[in-house]
């Protein structure tokens, strides 16, 4: 018992000594490396925050153009063909853009298709301030791009199919996409010629082809660029555009809910607006007067 007690005391003493040594060693280590370690930890955290384990091939999410604005492909429009000149001469925009040489027309002449609630079409929906909010949803065979305005979408096929040689003309065209390293490349054709390219009224034909690139530069930011090729309207390709930056957001800032907003132009509402708010007689009916 005594012997055992002696051994236990010696063992206890050794443990205490070992613990004290470890404590001293730890303290010394902390004194030597503490600040550097803290810096390294902060740096690592920052790196982790920046990378946030994003997959560059994962484009899912709601994206908002930053800063929000409306745009032309670039403000250096290529020379127009005679056909393009004739078509642009018919445009009566409500906007002025000196760089594009477009001056707002008198209100009574405006012929913006959107004022009749026509579909914005592509790429105008992305270059118009109500279209700067969109959502990507990836499936095994396609990337779906949903637009807040018109509450509509386009299919970007990723299953290896090719563009049609003579596609049906439509507002949002026909698109195929592929990955080139970490850049998603989209080729499109099959657009009708009923839409404007931008709010100023730049025109295109049904021969328009688009090439776009999307690249997720970090977890929260997506880079987008667009080039237009329409030999019927322009003598050379237009673009590439500047790289526009979209930011990942949990919801549309314009929605009351955690999703894209349902944002339609409804002609019955619009005509009602003209009826009730028209102040100069451009609308369908005079404003309401006295009861």
């Amino acid at each position: 018992m005594n012997c055992g007690s002696s051994i236990n005391k010696r063992a206890l003493g050794s443990l205490v000594a070992l613990a004290a040594a470890m404590a001293l060693f730890s303290a010394a280590l902390a004194a030597q490396t503490g600040p550097a370690s803290a810096t390294q930890t902060a740096s690592a955290k920052a790196q982790a925050a920046n990378s946030k384990s994003f997959d560059p091939h994962d484009l899912n999410g709601i994206w908002v153009l930053t800063p929000r604005r409306q745009m032309a492909i670039t403000e250096n429009r290529p020379p127009l063909t005679p056909w393009g000149q004739a078509k642009l001469s018919q445009v009566r925009s409500s906007w002025t853009n000196p760089a594009l040489g477009i001056k707002a027309a008198p209100e009574s002449e405006w012929n913006d298709p959107l004022y009749k609630c026509d579909p914005a079409g592509y790429p105008r929906t992305m270059q118009q301030i109500f279209g700067e909010i969109m959502r990507f949803v990836q499936t095994p065979t396609e990337l779906l791009e949903f637009f807040e305005w018109d509450h509509t979408w386009r299919d970007i096929w990723t299953d290896g199919r090719k563009l049609h040689d003579d596609p049906e003309p439509r507002y949002y065209g026909y698109s195929v996409g592929r990955w080139e390293a970490d850049t998603f490349v989209v080729d499109s054709n099959g657009f009708n010629d009923r839409t404007w390219l931008d709010p100023w009224g730049d025109v295109h034909s049904n021969q328009m082809r688009l090439k776009e690139t999307f690249r997720r530069v970090d977890r929260d930011h997506l880079e987008w660029s667009i080039t237009l090729d329409d030999p019927m309207t322009y003598t050379q390709p237009w673009g590439p555009s500047e790289k526009r930056i979209f930011q990942l957001v949990p919801k549309s800032p314009r929605s009351e809910y955690e999703e894209l907003r349902e944002d339609f132009c409804v002609w019955s509402d619009s005509s009602g607006f003209f009826k009730d708010a028209d102040t100069i007689g451009v609308g369908d009916a005079p404003a309401r007067g006295n009861k």
Binding site: R68, R69, P106, S270, D276, T279, I280
Partner: protein, 144 residues
């Protein structure tokens, strides 16, 4: 701090970001920005949460006691959400005071501030000239 793009200027479809000279779905020539903003107290008759612009129809008694319906042109719903509104911000029967830029010849208003009896305020930036007066003047010249 309000984001830069939220600065109220006069824009297409009532959207509120700074941008090149712009007008809304319809022009601004019907409004008179040369006179002081007007303040009226009235009763909400209708609040239409709709594109291209939300409308507030307000019953206001004039000096003779006759009820005049004033039509307030607000931003579109999406922009109003960003400004703190929602689809039920106003209900028929609500007593509110509105301050706005009046139309030249009709009971219409734009760039509207709404004050509730409990002191709450809501602002619609639709039609507010903000820092874009030069651009706005250009447009007014254009329409003359």
């Amino acid at each position: 701090m309000k984001p830069k793009w939220a600065c109220p200027v006069f824009l297409f479809l009532g959207l509120a970001i700074p941008c090149p000279p712009a007008v809304a779905h319809h022009g601004a020539v019907g409004y008179d920005y040369t006179v002081p903003r007007k303040t009226l107290k009235g009763t909400v008759e209708q609040f239409s949460w709709q594109n291209p612009h939300t409308l507030l129809l307000l019953d206001v008694k004039d000096d003779k006691g006759n009820v005049v319906v004033w039509t307030m042109e607000l931003n579109n719903p999406g922009n109003l959400v960003e400004l703190g509104w929602n689809h039920s911000s106003l209900k028929p029967g609500d007593e509110v005071t509105v301050t706005f830029n009046p139309a030249k010849s009709k009971p219409n208003g734009i760039c509207v501030d709404v004050m509730f009896s409990d002191g709450r305020k809501l602002h619609s930036s639709q039609g507010c000239v903000g820092g874009e007066l030069k651009s706005f003047d250009e447009l007014r010249q254009l329409d003359k």
